[in-house]
Subunit: 261 residues, 3 copies
C-alpha cells in the first residue's frame, strides 16, 4: 500500500483516505492501491462498508494525474494510455461489484474522474462547500469516461451542462440533480456518514451483498428479463438463514440476530 492512500478501519467501516496532495489525483499508483484495498475489503468479514474521503479539505479527488497522462503522450505510448483507462474503468466497476456498499464522503472539489468516483459509489454525501465538475473540455480532454458514470446517475440535461460548460456546480445543485444523496454541514458530515454506515451494519452482510449484486445486474436489463432475474434472486435470498431469522424475528416482534449466511 502506498501512503498516498491511507486505510483506516473503524469497527466495521473501512475508510480509504486519498492523501496525495495537492490534487489527490487518480494516478495508476493510486488506482492500484484502491483496487487492492477493494479486493481485500470485498472478502473481509469484519468490514461492512467502505467510505472514500480525502485528507485535503480543498480537493476530494481531481481525476487522472495529468503529469502521468502527459508523459504517456510525450512517449506516444498508446498502450500505456489504453492500460490506464482500462484500469480506471475496472476500478469504477469494482466499486459496484464488491459485496459491500461504497460511500463517497466529499469535502472540496470532485472533478473529472474524481466526479466519476462520486457517481460510481452507491451513496454520496457532500459538505456544504463541496463542489463538482466535469472540466475535461477545459484542458482539451473531454470527460468521455467520467460521463459514463455521471449520465447513469443524473439526467441528460444536467450531465450535458457539466460536460459542455466545464464549470463547477455547488453542493445544493449536486443534491438537486441527484449526483449526491444529501448536503450536510462540514461539521456534521462525518457523523452523518457514520449513521448511514450504522443503518447498513444493522443488516445481514450476505443480504446486502446479494442485493447490491442484483441491483447493478437488473438495471441493465429490459423489464421482463429484470423481473425474471430478480425473482430468482428472491428465491435464492430466501434460502439464507438470515432470511428465516429476519422474517421470524419480525413476525415475533423481536430483534433479528444475523449469522450472515
Amino acid at each position: 500500500m502506498t501512503e498516498k492512500l491511507i486505510r483506516t478501519d473503524k469497527d466495521y467501516i473501512a475508510y480509504l483516505k486519498l492523501n496525495d496532495n495537492p490534487a489527490n489525483s487518480l494516478s495508476s499508483e493510486m488506482m492500484g492501491a484502491i483496487q487492492a484495498e477493494l479486493t481485500e475489503i470485498d472478502t473481509n468479514p469484519s468490514i461492512r462498508v467502505v467510505v472514500f474521503e480525502s485528507a485535503s479539505e480543498k480537493i476530494f479527488c481531481s481525476g487522472h494525474s495529468l503529469t502521468e497522462v502527459k508523459g504517456m503522450m510525450s512517449d506516444k505510448d498508446v498502450q500505456a494510455q489504453e492500460k490506464l483507462f482500462a484500469q480506471c474503468s475496472m476500478m469504477m466497476k469494482q466499486i459496484q461489484k464488491i459485496s459491500k456498499p461504497a460511500i463517497a464522503k466529499v469535502r472540496g472539489v470532485a472533478t473529472a474522474a474524481g466526479n466519476q468516483l462520486v457517481a460510481s459509489c452507491d451513496l454520496a454525501y457532500g459538505s456544504e462547500d463541496s463542489r463538482y465538475a466535469l472540466p475535461g473540455a477545459n484542458i482539451g480532454l473531454f470527460c468521455h469516461t467520467p460521463q459514463v458514470a455521471v449520465s447513469r446517475t443524473i439526467g441528460r440535461k444536467a450531465t450535458m451542462e457539466m460536460l459542455l460548460s466545464g464549470q463547477m456546480i455547488n453542493s445544493a445543485k449536486a443534491e438537486k440533480i441527484g449526483l449526491i444523496n444529501k448536503v450536510v454541514s462540514s461539521a456534521d458530515l462525518d457523523s452523518e456518514v457514520e449513521m448511514v454506515c450504522a443503518t447498513i451494519n444493522q443488516k445481514s452482510a450476505e443480504v446486502i451483498a446479494q442485493g447490491k449484486r442484483s441491483f447493478y445486474r437488473q438495471i441493465e436489463m429490459g423489464l421482463t428479463d429484470a423481473y425474471a432475474a430478480t425473482s430468482q434472486n428472491m428465491v435464492k435470498n430466501l434460502e439464507l438463514n438470515d432470511a428465516n431469522e429476519g422474517i421470524s424475528s419480525f413476525l415475533e416482534k423481536r430483534q433479528p440476530e444475523w449469522t450472515n449466511d
Copy 2:
C-alpha cells in the same frame, strides 16, 4: 373476488381498495384479485382509469405477506416461492400492459412490493403523511424485485439509499425524487385524483390505449428503434376516427366528440 379487495366503480373510474387489515399485504390471494380486476378493467368500455387506494389510513400496502412467505420457507417449497414472485412480477407488468392508465393514491405507508406498486403505476399522488420505503434488508429479504420498478422511476442514488438504509422517506422527498407526481393534503387528495382522472376522461380511450402501449414499448429501445416504432404508432393513430375528429375539431375551434375508435 375477495373482500380483501373492494372494487367500486364511480362513473368511469374503477377504484381498487386494498382492504386486508392491518398490513394490506400483497398475498397471492390479493394479487390474484387485483389481476382479475385489471383483466376485466382492460376491456371494460365503461372504465377509463383505475385507481389503487387503501381502506387503511395507516398502511397503503406493505408488500408481500410475510406469513405466506414464511410458510413457503418452512415447507422448503421453492416452486411455491417461484410462483409467488412470478405472479407479483406479472401483476406489476399487467398494470403497465392494460389499456387504461393506473394511478396510485397513497395514504399511509407504501413499503417493499407496496412501493413497487406505486412505482409501477403510470401516475402516483400521495397525501402529506404518506411515506415510502424499501425495507426488505431490515428483515433479511432484500427488495430485489421492488427495485426493478423503483430504479426505473427514480435516480440511482435515491434508489440505493432506500435499499441500503431500509428507512422511510416522507412525501416531500418522494415527490422531489420523482417517485410520486405530487404531494396533496389528505383532505384534497381524493378530489385531486378525481381531477386527474377527469383530464384522462376527456381524451379518446383508444388514443390513450395506443399511447400507453407505445410508451412502455419505446422506453426499452435504443433511440433509432424507438423512433422507428413510434413513427409507425403515429401513422396507425392517424387511421383512427378520433384522430380525424380531434384534429378537425381543433382546426375548427370546437370541442371534439370521440367515438373511441
Copy 3:
C-alpha cells in the same frame, strides 16, 4: 432557405429563429429548412454552437403542422405520413449527431414535437413565462414520437403526467423535472444563453465534437461496453494537438491556444 426559418450568425453562434406565425409549426418545409441549416452548421468551421429560438414571444414551437397532417389524412396518404414522421425523427437525431452543441432558448409555449425539440437539444434555457406540454391526446393524436425524446430526458412519472393530462407545465416545473437546465427572466435570457455559448467557445471545437459524439453513443450501451467505447475515445482524444496544448497549458499555468485539431 425559407423565410419561415431565419438564420443569423453572430460571431460563432448560429441562431435559428422559427418565424412561421402564429404556430411556428414543424411543417415539412420548416423541418427541411432546419435540416439544411444543421447540415451546413455541422461542418462550418466558424460556427461553434446553434441556438433555436422563436420570432414569437407566445409560441416557441407547436410541433407538427396540423393543416399538413390533416391533408395527408384526407388523402389517406400513408406514405406521406410515414415520410413526415421519418423526417421529424431524422431531424431530432440530427440535432444530437451534429458536431456542435445545440441549445433551445424557449420563450412562450413548446408543445408536442416542439417540446421534443427542447428535449432533443443538448441544453435548454427557458424564460419565466415559458411553458411546456405534450398535448397530443387532447386532439386525438398521442405524442408517440415526442415521448421518445422526453422520456429519455426526464423521469417516467413526469413524462406520463404530461402525456396523459395533456396539460401545460410552467417553467419552474420544467426546471425541477430536468426538461430545461434553468429558468431565466425574459430580460436576461438572451445574455444567459450567450454566456453559455461563450463557455463552449472557450473549448476546442474538435474536443467538443468528439465529446458530443461519445456522449450519445455510450448512453445507449451497457456499462462494460460504454467503458470500452469511451476508453477508446480517451485515447483518440489524446492524439489531438489540442489535448497536448490543453494539458501542457494547464501544467504550465497559462491559457491554452486551440488549433482545433
